[in-house]
């Protein structure tokens, strides 16, 4: 037996991608997008708010202008470079999505682990809360927050946080329920390990991969949600920009300058699509309980 176990080939990262080339491609695209945003100052020639009123609504072109390098994605109604704004705006979109998904994960996973581990009335109370929350118009509640707090990036994050914890709570609870009844946890109890130790050292590592999947999918979801609210004018405010806001501001110029709207929309689509494909790949590859398709 021991011999068999050691002779088993170690699974390399390349093996993980063997049956899922689309996920590998998505991961590379995501890394490129992240790096471009991170080094936006280096890869763009214009500042995002640097307007040139003589070059308003200029179509995309690879020819350099007399004032500087080419506007490869054209310019908007104020003569600002769409490509620069796409990268700086993307930072805002991703930051909002990331913060919302991350804080939601912290709250949801903590509550879900408590519910699953302790059971009884704690479980009852937490899960009823999740039930009530899931069957209520959460978008309207989020909009209520926006209304009383006023629009803006941080208020938008608070508003979106309202419904970002329930899915994590459900996932964490169901995973904990599976692990709790395992021999591993039972032996932990037997040797007198503390509740904290069992929860964070034994249960947590075993439920992490479905939660990472949930995180990636929720990140995609909240990038979309951010764009929706910013488009309506309830999110990020000028002079800051985000992909949703770019579409919202550019739509008045749809007929003369469709590129202002085209590129942010494609950016949202590509980012969200890649996140979805990578999220599903993580679930298929790293979750021992998932059924391989």
């Amino acid at each position: 037996m021991a011999n068999q176990a050691t002779s088993k080939k170690k699974v390399t990262l390349a093996d993980r991608f063997r049956y899922n080339k689309a996920a590998l491609f998505s991961l590379i695209v995501l890394i490129v997008i992240f790096l471009m945003m991170l080094f936006a100052e280096q890869v763009t020639a214009y500042r995002p708010t640097q307007g040139d009123l003589y070059a308003r609504l200029a179509p995309p072109s690879f020819a350099a202008t007399e004032k500087g390098p080419a506007h490869i994605m054209g310019t908007d109604q104020l003569g600002q470079d769409v490509y620069s704004r796409l990268l700086y705006g993307g930072r805002v979109s991703l930051t909002v999505g990331f913060v919302v998904a991350f804080v939601g994960a912290l709250i949801g996973i903590t509550l879900g682990m408590f519910a699953g581990y302790f059971g009884g009335w704690i479980d009852m109370v937490i899960m009823r809360m999740v039930d009530v929350w899931s069957s209520s118009p959460t978008l309207l509640v989020a909009l209520t927050f926006v209304m009383v707090l006023g629009p803006g990036k941080w208020n938008l994050i608070i508003a979106l946080l309202v419904n970002s914890w329930t899915l994590f709570c459900r996932m964490a609870r169901s995973q904990v329920l599976v692990i709790r009844s395992s021999a591993m946890v039972e032996s932990g109890h037997a040797i007198g390990a503390s509740t904290n130790r069992i929860m964070f050292r034994h249960i947590m590592p075993n439920i992490i991969s479905p939660l990472v999947t949930t995180f990636v999918l929720e990140l995609a979801h909240f990038i979309n949600a951010e764009s929706n609210l910013s488009f309506l004018g309830f999110g990020v405010q000028p002079p800051d920009t985000s992909w949703g806001l770019m579409i919202g501001e550019g739509r008045k110029y749809l007929t003369q300058a469709p590129w202002i709207v085209l590129f942010p929309g494609l950016s949202i689509g590509v980012t969200v699509l890649c996140l979805n494909l990578v999220g599903n790949w993580i679930r298929d590859e790293f979750d021992p309980l998932a059924v391989k398709q």
């Binding site: 009530v132 069957s135 209520s136 118009p137 929706n228 488009f231 007929t255 689509g269 969200v272």
Partner: protein, 307 residues
């Protein structure tokens, strides 16, 4: 447990949700925000402020205010909309039917397109059709619907001139908004139909039916389809409820469609607290009723489910 008792239990839950959400929104609007500051101009005098506070009943203790609000909400009286100076109920019922119909059209479209395509993709798994469908449904899920709406407008209204860009009145005004809204439910539905159908096609009853010589079309659409209906109905119901709960707002704004979604957006812009409370109240009821309807339909499609 009988069906009747189950429905009663669910209705009780609905009341709980509606009251809970109403209280939450009430507390948010009255504790975090101050209606008087919003309604009066900055240069208003202290006397004016106090008068309005009294008129709105905001000088009473919070619990007393909440009790009055809930008492009136039960009688469906939400008072006048601050922005439109009309009863909130009237404002909502002017716009709700139009959007309900628009989303119904979008749902119908997504069902008609997604179910046959999903079945076909599962049936010819791995083929070029299957791959095309996956790309199509994923883009439907990932691209923002308001952006899809703008692109549709650019092509079909601006370039081709086939359909109007905005407004309402004829069936032509409904086409583009309905299609833009339909993309996401279509993607969800196509994916779930494909996934479930693949499992059904591997089931023993399918092998038995084929051995008996049952026609493939009958097999797919009568036997297998019936078994995947429960998950499809959940999806359709969920998406419908979400759209009605404000998700359709951005598409309605794009097409200048005078519906409920745009009303919600205008409500927030105008900081109309009573109207928002009325909207939350109605949407909560409708969402819960849709969920209940979905559960009842379950039993109709799956005889194993008993309440």
């Amino acid at each position: 447990m009988g069906m009747g008792k189950y429905i009663l239990q669910r209705l009780a839950f609905t009341i709980l949700v509606v009251i809970g959400i109403s209280i939450l929104v009430f507390v948010l609007t009255h504790v975090v925000g101050n209606p008087v500051d919003i309604m009066l101009p900055l240069q208003a005098t202290m006397e004016q402020r106090e008068l309005l506070t009294q008129q709105l009943g905001l000088d009473k203790p919070m619990l007393e205010q909440l009790r009055i609000f809930l008492g009136e909400a039960v009688r469906l009286d939400f008072g006048l909309s601050w922005w439109q100076r009309r009863p909130c109920m009237e404002v909502i019922f002017d716009d709700l039917p139009l959007t309900a119909f628009l989303i119904f059209l979008a749902s119908a479209l997504s069902v008609v397109v997604a179910i046959p395509l999903g079945i076909l993709a599962a049936y010819r798994r791995g083929s070029i059709i299957d791959r095309l469908l996956t790309v199509f449904s994923l883009s439907g899920i990932c691209l923002p619907p308001f952006w899809i709406g703008l692109m549709l407008m650019l092509v079909f209204s601006v370039k081709l001139g086939w359909l109007p860009t905005s407004g309402t009145g004829t069936w032509k005004h409904l086409v583009l908004p309905a299609v833009a809204i339909a993309f996401r439910p279509m993607g969800h539905l196509a994916q779930i139909v494909r996934f479930e159908m693949i499992q059904q096609l591997n089931a023993l009853y399918v092998i038995t039916a084929r051995a008996k010589g049952v026609d493939e079309i009958v097999l797919l659409f009568r036997h297998a389809l019936k078994n995947i209906m429960t998950s499809s109905i959940t999806m359709i119901g969920n998406d419908y409820a979400k759209q009605l709960g404000g998700l359709s707002a951005s598409v309605e704004v794009v097409f200048g469609f005078p519906g409920f979604g745009r009303l919600i957006s205008d409500t927030i812009e105008n900081m109309d607290f009573p109207l928002l409370q009325a909207e939350v109240f109605f949407v909560a009821i409708i969402v819960c009723l849709i969920n209940l309807l979905v559960d009842i339909l379950y039993a109709a499609f799956d005889p194993r489910i008993r309440y």
